[in-house]
Amino acid sequence: MATDYLERGAMAGVAGGLVYGLFVATVGNAFTAGLETFEHSHGGGGPVVSELTTTVASIGGGVLWGLLFGVAAFGMVYFFLEPAIPGSGATKRLALAGAGFLTVSGAPWLVLPPQPPGVEQALGTETRLAWYAGLMALGALVAVLAGLAYQRTARHHTAVRLGAMALPLALLAVPVALAPANPVHGDVPAALVAAYRWTVVFGQLVLWATIAGVHAWLGDSDTPATDDLDYPATAD
């Protein structure tokens, strides 16, 4: 039964990945290339691979990005947390997708927003990686707390429950207030940076929503979750 979940998660992930690969092919590649025209000094010479390689590999990377989310979130996490995730059907999937987005992207970006190419950040890579990892953990914690808040308010009105779910989000203000300043240096105009960032945000949202939608469309297990204990587990 668990492999059943893994399979559906992977299928939804590939579907989402193909859509996201299309996004990288049509928007991501061209947008990044355009932003690179603002890049002046690129210490250490240019990229070691051809532009075509980057274009194709990045599209492939987008597909694998979807597969990764599909397998990890909908193949594994969904199997364990399905009984605890609020809602049913597509709502349940969207709730998990929202939690996934918050964990992987949303929370970290509050402190370390996406940067266009050629922008130098004051904080070192190691420091940023540590902050990114910590913020991912906090994002996951906030998502879990939101789920618990929803469960604990089971007898209340839906509006109350949604309000309770929103409360843990306040925790995200803590790292935003505590994070060290990270002044950036680059020649990309601020409006273009904003457009780039929101493009990235919408790209990730489309990816998660597609995985959730396809996963819901694939439906629940044909066999009830409890069936498989009736059979001896066979190693093969």
Binding site: P47, S58, L68, V71, F79, S105, V200, T226, D230
Partner: protein
Amino acid sequence: MQEDTDTKHVADSVHDRIERARASLTGPQIAIAVALVAALGFTLLFVQDPMLHDSLHNFRHSAGITCH
């Protein structure tokens, strides 16, 4: 084995799922799944080999991963 699906479904909990995974999955199955996720994440995010890193340049900027 379909008859008591509903009663069982009500009792379904995260704890049950963990028990179920323990009963139905073998070690190698879990290892393969975890390894797949780890390999994908590592390849896309952390490999610093210039060839692979530069190849995925546009992907990283499109996905908002800019840890370089």
